[in-house]
Amino acid sequence: MIRQVSIFIENHEGRLNHILKILAENKINIRSLNIADATDFGIVRLILQETEKGIEVLKKNDIISTVTPVLAAEISDDPGGLSTLVNALTEAKINIVYAYSFLPKKTDNAIIIIRVDDDVQQKAIETLEKVAEVNLLDRETLLLK
């Protein structure tokens, strides 16, 4: 399970920059970023090299964040790679709440971050562990990629 940091921001200029600056000033590396937006607010989802320290500096700066458990799955960066993964979850009737890609530095494979509903998380792990083409990553391994 990977710990993703989710942050609430208002949807206007300068807000994302504000958060990124705080992390930069505290020398916290962002390994992956995803932004979801509604009409007047958004949620920034980050995977940080140092999760605890990141949360701490955000809190010090009055920024609301929450830690969400997500899955990280390594798949081959070829046509059909992602389809195999999503297909396995679909057959197990597991809904994907959202997903985005993680940019690895040291592998040619693709890495997908997946958020499923809390109550089917364990089931999703078990499902994906059975799929030969999918390699589920733990935190240590992910951050080394």
Binding site: Q4, F8, R15, D37
Partner: protein, 432 residues
């Protein structure tokens, strides 16, 4: 034109004698019949006999909206319920409304005063009055209704909203007087213009507008667009309802019916009575009401008393157009809204220490209310749909509690301005 010349034009000396006699009787009644008032008198070491002149009024205790809430619902009634023939309510500062009751005599008095108001605005038995104030717990609709019947005019009890039908009735029924909030009058005029209906083709001659503050500019706008004369009316349910004061044809201040109410202006900070002409908070004492007589009610409305005689011939004092409030109450589309009501909703939703801001705008002719709510850690979710649901829940809850539709926006923590630790709750961007 007067409805009741002998009272409306009563020489001031005689009027003041009448006031004193009625005030003494009123003070006696509330002292003996309402424990709340008796306690307040005793705290100040006062007895009803201490009132021997109108000047003594300033020694007496005030009554506030909080007092009405603390005695919810019937604690300040001076008569048993079997003598109450009608109950109205207005929004309170928190969840519970402010409740008032009327005896048969109170309804008769209210109808009489409302009839005087209608006549002051040029109406008569020949008038067809289209009453677009809301009927219900709100005093606007029924207040005007009973006054119009008393006058012998033809009243159309259409109530608020449904603009297309309002216009159809205005055209087909030949309404000559329109009663509604000033902002609705502007809205109606705009819809008429959009529909290509020339107001000259309508029979409407006058409008009596109240229940929200408006300015001389809005009056000019309404008069020009609807080709009518627009009169300001004042009232509040705690005192009676609409018809406490009305403009006459001079349109230079609103006559307060002093044979039933005594107006004073106080400094809202020192609570000292201010001389006529100075601006401050309006305080009203009801001297004839039976169901729920109110002593020195702090209306929170800011105005001044105009004591100079009016050229219309009425001798009753006038108050200037309202200049604002001495509390944070907002009037949105005729509905009273207190920030504390919004706060209770947020507490119910699960905010432990709600920080919020109300932003009021005038969009065209309609008021809009935006509620900015700082998102707390407890309510944060990393799913957009959950947050959108939260916004919707707050919006629905506010709508069902105070009856006003709002736009709810979640904002970042600590993003709303705070002054001395408390948020600045209200930003009113309306230009009225």
């Amino acid at each position: 034109m007067y409805w009741n010349k002998s009272y409306e034009c009563m020489p001031r000396e005689k009027l003041q004698e009448l006031q004193l006699e009625r005030l003494k009787r009123m003070v006696n009644r509330i002292y003996h019949d309402v424990p709340f008032y008796r306690n307040k008198f005793q705290e100040k070491g006062l007895m009803p006999e201490d009132v021997s002149s109108l000047d003594d009024l300033k020694k007496l205790p005030f009554t506030t909206k909080v007092d009405l809430r603390d005695n919810y619902p019937y604690g300040l009634f001076t008569v048993p319920l079997e003598q109450i023939v009608r109950i109205h309510a207005s929004s309170g500062t928190t969840g519970k409304p402010t409740v008032v009751g009327y005896t048969r005599n109170d309804i008769a008095m209210w109808s009489e005063l409302m009839a005087r108001c209608l006549v002051a605005a040029g109406a008569g038995p020949h008038s067809v009055i289209q009453n677009a104030y809301g009927y219900g717990l709100f005093t606007g609709g029924l207040g005007v209704h009973y006054g119009a019947e008393r006058l012998g005019a033809s009243i159309i009890p259409i109530s608020g909203g449904n603009t297309a039908k309002q216009i159809m009735i205005m055209q087909d029924f030949g309404s000559t007087v329109l009663t509604c909030t000033p902002s609705y009058a502007i809205y109606l005029s705009e819809v008429l213009a959009e529909s290509g209906i020339d107001p000259e083709t309508l029979k409407i001659k006058a409008g009596i507008f109240g229940a929200e503050p408006w300015s001389e500019n809005i009056r000019k706008d309404i008069e020009k667009k609807l080709k009518i004369k627009a009169y300001d009316i004042y009232g509040l349910s705690e005192i009676m309802g609409p018809g406490v004061a009305i403009e006459c044809e001079c349109q230079e201040g609103l006559h307060v019916w002093e044979d039933h109410f005594i107006p004073e202006i106080i400094d809202p900070n020192t609570l000292e009575v201010l001389p006529y002409g100075e601006q401050g908070e309006l305080v009203i004492t009801t001297i004839t009401k039976e169901g729920i007589p109110i002593l020195r009610y702090r209306t929170r409305d800011i105005t001044r008393i105009i004591a100079e005689p009016c050229s219309c011939g009425r001798t009753h004092l006038r108050i200037n157009r309202l200049q604002g409030r001495s509390d944070d109450m907002l009037i949105i589309r005729g509905v009273n809204v207190f920030p504390t009501q919004i706060e209770s909703v947020l507490l119910e939703i699960g905010e432990v220490e709600p920080h919020y801001q109300l932003v009021v705008r005038r969009d065209g002719s309609l008021d809009t209310l935006e509620v900015k709510v700082e998102l707390s850690e407890a309510l944060f979710s990393d799913r957009i749909s959950n947050l959108e649901n939260l916004e919707k829940r707050i919006r629905d809850r506010i709508q069902s509690t105070i009856g006003v539709s709002t736009k709810v926006a979640l904002v970042e923590p600590k993003s709303l301005p705070r002054s001395e630790g408390k948020s600045q709750r209200v930003v009113d961007l309306r230009k009225i």
